[in-house]
Symmetry: C2
Subunit: 131 residues, 2 copies
């Protein structure tokens, strides 16, 4: 699989809510950051982050508007719309994200949402979920 294939499959795994596939796509030492928040380090921290999201949502969209791979093949940059559908409403997050690929796995992932925009939507839902 190309780096692009790895990232597109990862996005599809969010939509199919496949926790095993999501965890299988990342390295043990994955660093995930919702910039500018502090990063989450390691696969267990990542699982602790995404498990509740999958549990709390009834559906997830990970819409890739644009995608490009760096010339060296290591970095995949995306512009996306992520939607988290909860029982009482949807949180829609326009964002960009960058994925670093090594040995066929995602080793770094940084997303750039607007945190205030996300928080306002969660507040409107009555605080369900968290982001």
């Amino acid at each position: 699989m190309t780096s692009e294939d790895i990232v597109r499959t990862f996005c599809t795994s969010w939509e199919s809510r496949d926790l095993a596939a999501l965890l299988g796509a990342v390295s043990e030492d994955l660093v995930y950051q919702n910039v500018p928040r502090p990063p989450l380090v390691g696969k267990p921290a990542f699982e602790a982050f995404i498990g509740p999201i999958l549990a709390a949502t009834r559906a997830i969209d990970f819409i890739v508007k644009s995608l490009a791979t760096s010339a060296d093949g290591k970095m995949v940059l995306t512009e996306r719309i992520d939607r988290l559908h909860y029982a009482d409403g949807t949180v829609e997050v326009p964002l960009m994200g960058i994925f670093q690929i090594e040995g066929g796995l995602i080793v770094r992932w940084r997303d750039y949402p607007d945190s205030a925009h996300v928080a306002a939507q969660f507040a409107a839902l009555g605080g369900a979920g968290g982001d």
Copy 2:
């Protein structure tokens, strides 16, 4: 020039504070958006936005951490650190941005900063500038 060249030159023009070069790089119908804020439409609106930034800052950094061009050559995705240096301090903005190129010009530009992170830094400066 490739689409990558156009974007890298545009970033360098920010650092050299070259208003003519910045305006020359974009189309008359440029749409610039600081997502999720409403877009600015047209070169005059863009000039009205950037002119005060160039006037209020004493230096600007536009550091490109990663860059990739889409397979069709039209979209250039970047991960950057923008720094606005004012007389009384610096605002540092980690962000991603996407540039659409047509006919050698930037026709769409969308940046994804964390607005609360930026606003907090401006507040610490005493409200100088705006973003």
